[in-house]
Symmetry: C2
Subunit: 250 residues, 2 copies
């Protein structure tokens, strides 16, 4: 049967999901997407493949998936059909037909994540699931910025991933790491060739420890070299984290 | 017993509440606030009084309540104690001690509501509970602005309130009514001396009908004069509505 590969960009509010990946009897992003695909394909099982998982509570502006279909719907109908069937906390924001050599996970050449903290005096009820509240207390953002340089480039990130990480190669390259204040929000943006399990949240937690004065910017270099997860800061909470975009070579 | 009256400004995300007012076995904003007050007062029942109810799904940036307490906590402790006990979708954003002649409902001299529509191509999953999606279609905002003038001033708003409204006096004064585009959002702001049940949402629905070309701006005058709810537009959905602030004469 002639199959067509569809690439889709997906935004989701991670609040009410037990993470991205399908799990028995849990509400996950993948299971909702695959359920919609089954309906479109009249009960034939179609599985989507994502660029990677995200944890419970983690959001996405631009997760990327692909799936193969025997149907011959025009492109705009794919977006409409999926959005009609999906719950409102998952939205397909873009679709394209793509070569079958494209793979949402293996073809990815980079990912960008965003992490948001809020230092509004009272955490807005509308922000409660979308940023991590620091209270009235302002971290030393200049100090945090000084620490970012140590993450840039290629390093062994053993100190910055969950000890449960199965991947043996823990070398990753960080291409960009910025901190920006926008109103009451402090926003970290990080771009790299790939990220280990909990890596962005551990980097966020470690930068915050620097901002709190518990570590110096130079300590980051020492922590990286130690290759010991216990040296790094806490894993920052999931609800401040957004998978912002995934890049591919065209 | 010496009682102290406390005035508090309350923000809430209305999404997960069955409205403001206490109802048996329902999660409401008032029941959560009164539960927190009971805890602070060691199981003594203290009832809060609000400026008015809001419906299920309606949000607030600045609802106002008052309650009387025999306790002598310092002012900042009231805010902290309530916020510790309240769920994260209700936040006390301000407190003050106030004369016992102040009454959150009867002393109010005006209220401001905001209504939000979104015309982003795809409704962001993060916006789904906070604005009403119009889809790709843009209403004629200039036409809607022309219609706003007919609401200004003092009118009988029988056509613009639920037929279930118990209040016999349906005369209200609108002091301000503006429409503003902010990015993908169309925002209506309305200020008046008071509002009947569903009045803001019916005005919003009627303005949108003008923007859609179903009614002319001049029709608004005719609808007001008809004193017939059936003449006005649909009641706009609750999740676009925010009680923004309540004003009092000092």
């Amino acid at each position: 049967m002639q199959m067509t590969r569809v690439k889709a960009v997906v935004a989701y509010d991670g609040t009410n999901f037990a993470g991205y990946q399908s799990q028995p009897s849990m509400r996950t992003v993948q299971s909702e997407i695959d359920k919609a695909l089954v309906k479109i394909h009249k009960d034939k099982k179609i599985h989507s493949v994502a660029s990677g998982r995200t944890d419970a509570g983690v959001h996405a502006n631009g997760q990327v998936i692909h799936f193969d279909t025997p149907l011959t719907l025009p492109l705009d109908r794919w977006q409409t059909a999926l959005n009609v069937l999906l719950p409102m906390d998952i939205r397909i924001v873009g679709v394209e037909f793509i070569d079958e050599k494209f793979h949402a996970r293996y073809s990815a050449t980079g990912k960008t994540y965003i992490y948001k903290w809020s230092y509004s005096e009272v955490h807005s009820p509308f922000e409660r699931n979308y940023s991590v509240h620091l209270g009235k207390w302002h971290p030393d953002v200049q100090r945090m910025k000084e620490a970012t340089v140590h993450f840039l480039g290629t390093h062994d990130f053993t100190s910055f991933c969950s000890s449960k990480t199965a991947t043996s190669n823990k070398v990753r390259t960080i291409r960009q790491l910025t901190l920006e204040e926008q109103g009451d929000l402090l926003i970290m943006t990080i771009e790299g060739d790939g990220f280990l399990y909990n890596m962005v949240r551990t980097i966020a937690g470690t930068l915050l420890a620097v901002g709190k004065g518990w570590n110096t910017p130079a300590d980051v270099k020492r922590i990286l070299e130690s290759c010991d997860r216990k040296e790094a800061g806490k894993t920052a909470p999931s609800h401040g984290l957004y998978l912002d975009s995934v890049t591919y070579n065209d």
